[in-house]
Symmetry: C2
Subunit: 453 residues, 2 copies
């Protein structure tokens, strides 16, 4: 039986939406939170003790749209809008992955995510080698739903990523059977037809028919106006209307971006209970637009937050992404339209809800899995702390995260990764990135970063 | 004679616009750069040696719009647009400053700025006690142009900030005489009529008549559309046209924000050589808008970057601000419209040019003052480094800054402030913030952060 005691926290924020506050110790037994607040030492003889004095405990960040496989390509797809970014850079680079480069990308991503206080993600993979992603997730301790990208047609899809409809389905189901519920339920499978422009009608329909009842469905939608124009031309309907027609929408359907939506599409999302995944930094950098979070939430659409891929973001910093969502909401809907507690809830409990995981994570309360982070707010850049929620949203940096636990496992302690060898991972990532770039070079005519398409 | 040798840098980026690259040592004598690159140990017997192995050297960041006096009010003015933000929160809080709270605010700001790699700022103060700001700048080593805010009229200006036109001018000139050129030229005075809505015509005209030939002029302009509407109603002209008419424009005139400009106003800025100061995060959070940097630059207007005040930003992180400028430019003018080298130049040499300081700082070359920062790019969140300029703009964090020198003085070494006692400054800031809030409380009915105006 494993017992962990976080001791002496200045403040324990239980989580959204109310953000009740306690202080003192937090007791974890066999991965679950057993008690919160006060002096719990007497109830925890022999516990592994982690000193949280002076720190603020809160639920770990949940990012609902990430591409672990792309982190190795950070800085290699600059200055492009979505479709050229995919066709000229990202797809040829993904096609160049081998299991070693993919593993290096995933390890580097998980290291960055954990060090920055993200404890759960929804990941979209590349087409091949996706077992490597789950093996690495299992070994490193991050909580994740993940699935291989499905790509059975589409302009510009390279041979190295293109698969038959049958292979795409078969490989997805093989992975789902192997990994959904693995690691005591810490890993789950999410079917991931990449987006309308890389998947056949029959693929979408088969995913709906075969997977929708049992698994999460994860795709991209309405990110860029060029993309939505092409979708409308090819399908004769708008993106979300197409999803509605093929039966793809529903409360277990997660749609990244949702920037370009008609009122009718917003209504489709709301009535179906589909989830919008907001990726503000990517949407800015690829020049796509700004997701109207206020409009979506007012219509009853559930919105959570993710960093998307490192070649667009260019990082996986959940605090920075939450802050971007907060600032852009003030711009689009007016100051105060999304408060600090609102956005902090979106980035924690909201992400858990989107993934159907709010029975296990998203709040610090007895019985929940112990996904906890400890943050130092006594830094020059967060002082004075007039209100801890405002400080966490607008001033706190990824580097202020001191401890990170997932299912009660201490994965980061005093700002250092516990299970992962950070310098070795950084070195291996540089080496594998170089090799992957060389393999991709014939396909990517101008791999010089900064070259404008 | 003081000699400092930065040794073994993996990379020395000389600065914009070309960002030439060297490696090895950087030799500093009496505050000036003497030699760059290669092995310089033989030329530096007895030097103070700072280990830069594995690090990237570059010119320090220059932020051209900051309010040191406001950092103590971080988190205390949430969820408001510009004019309520000023009238309900910021002005009453500034009026509550005493010399001790102002000193605490300035020390906290300088600590955050230096730790994050900002070596030069243009600061706008509050109305009173501004000598404290210069004394603190002198003692701590940051390079700065600064001036007290001038406020001789205006709706909502509290008694505690309002001054007569004559007092405003007299106090400004007293400060300018005492501090312009002080600390071996590291400090300069910038006249700072706050903005049109807090200054009389006669004040602007007197500043032009008495100060424009000798000093920088610093103000806010066209930040928010409510503000520009009021300006147009009061003055019968648009904001920049008013400045043109009173003679306020020119190459030593620095205008923060410049979000809401007619084509005619953009032309006025370009032909007069006036400088636009871009504060992207503040403009988002106060819901003001997005400065059209591409449009301004295309018209020939010089644009540099600043974090503005901590109660709007909510921090003073020059790397995050540069990144915001880069991302928002891609959104407004398309991917590639502002490249990584472009924005890195804006944040260094560009800031120096705006301040008329490009003869002394902004590039690492012999004869220039040694304002140098050393950054670690071998972090999980910046790996792989496909291109160092892209990594610095889009992935590097304030916390990756290891060493910071201003005029050859080592102010940050291995991530720690050298001259400043960081924990003591953080403690004092909390204490003084509490006292200032109590003094301001009668004036600020809802000092609870998060309360919507």
């Amino acid at each position: 039986m494993s017992v962990v005691l976080l001791t002496g926290a200045e403040r324990i924020l239980l989580g959204g939406p109310a953000w009740e506050e306690a202080s003192g110790d937090l007791l974890i037994r066999d991965g679950s939170i057993q008690a919160v607040g006060g002096d719990l030492a007497a109830r925890a003889p022999g516990a592994r003790v982690v000193d949280a004095s002076g720190l603020t405990l809160m639920p770990g960040l949940v990012q609902t749209h990430v591409h672990l496989c792309q982190t190795l390509f950070r800085g290699l797809a600059e200055d492009r809008s979505l479709l050229p970014w995919l066709r000229e850079c990202i797809w040829p680079l993904e096609a160049a992955h081998d299991p070693d480069s993919l593993r290096a990308s995933v390890e580097l991503s998980i290291l960055e995510l954990l060090l920055g206080g993200t404890t759960t993600i929804l990941d979209m993979g590349t087409t091949h080698h996706h077992g490597v992603v789950f093996e690495t997730l299992e070994r490193t301790g991050l909580r994740a739903a993940s699935g291989k990208a499905m790509m059975d047609e589409g302009e510009g899809v390279p041979v190295g990523l293109l698969e038959t409809t049958l292979d795409s389905l078969r490989e997805s189901f093989d992975l789902a059977e192997r990994w959904d519920g693995a690691a005591d339920g810490r890993l789950r499978y999410a079917f991931a037809p990449r987006f309308v422009l890389s998947c056949s009608d029959i693929l979408f329909r088969e995913v709906v028919s075969l997977a929708k009842d049992r698994y999460l469905l994860h795709t991209h939608a309405s990110e860029n106006s060029n993309e939505t124009d092409v979708v409308e031309r090819l399908k004769g309907r708008r993106n979300i209307e197409y999803f509605e027609d093929v039966g793809f929408l529903g409360p277990r359907t997660l749609l990244a971006h949702c920037v370009w939506l008609s009122d009718r599409e917003v209504e489709c999302l709301a009535t179906s209970g589909s989830r919008a995944l907001h990726c503000p930094h990517t949407n800015l950098k690829l020049g796509s637009g700004i997701c109207e979070v206020g409009r979506l939430r007012d219509a009853g659409v559930h919105v959570s937050i993710g960093c998307d891929g490192a070649p667009a973001n260019n990082g996986l910093d959940g605090f920075a992404e939450m802050r971007a969502a907060a600032r852009l909401a003030q711009l689009k809907s007016g100051p105060g339209s999304l408060t600090a507690p609102d956005v902090l809830t979106m980035a924690t409990l909201g992400g858990a809800e989107a993934l159907g995981w709010d029975d296990r994570i998203g709040r610090l309360e007895p019985g929940k899995d112990a996904d906890v982070i400890a943050v130092d707010l006594h830094t020059p850049h967060a002082t004075p702390v007039a209100d801890p929620l405002t400080a966490l949203v607008y001033s706190c940096r990824a580097g202020d995260v001191r401890h990170v636990l997932v299912s009660g496992e201490v994965l980061v302690e005093s700002g250092q990764a516990v299970r992962m060898d950070a310098p070795a991972i950084v070195r291996e990532a540089e080496k594998q990135a170089q090799r992957a770039r060389e393999r991709a070079a014939p396909e990517v005519p101008r791999l010089r970063p900064g070259a404008v398409s």
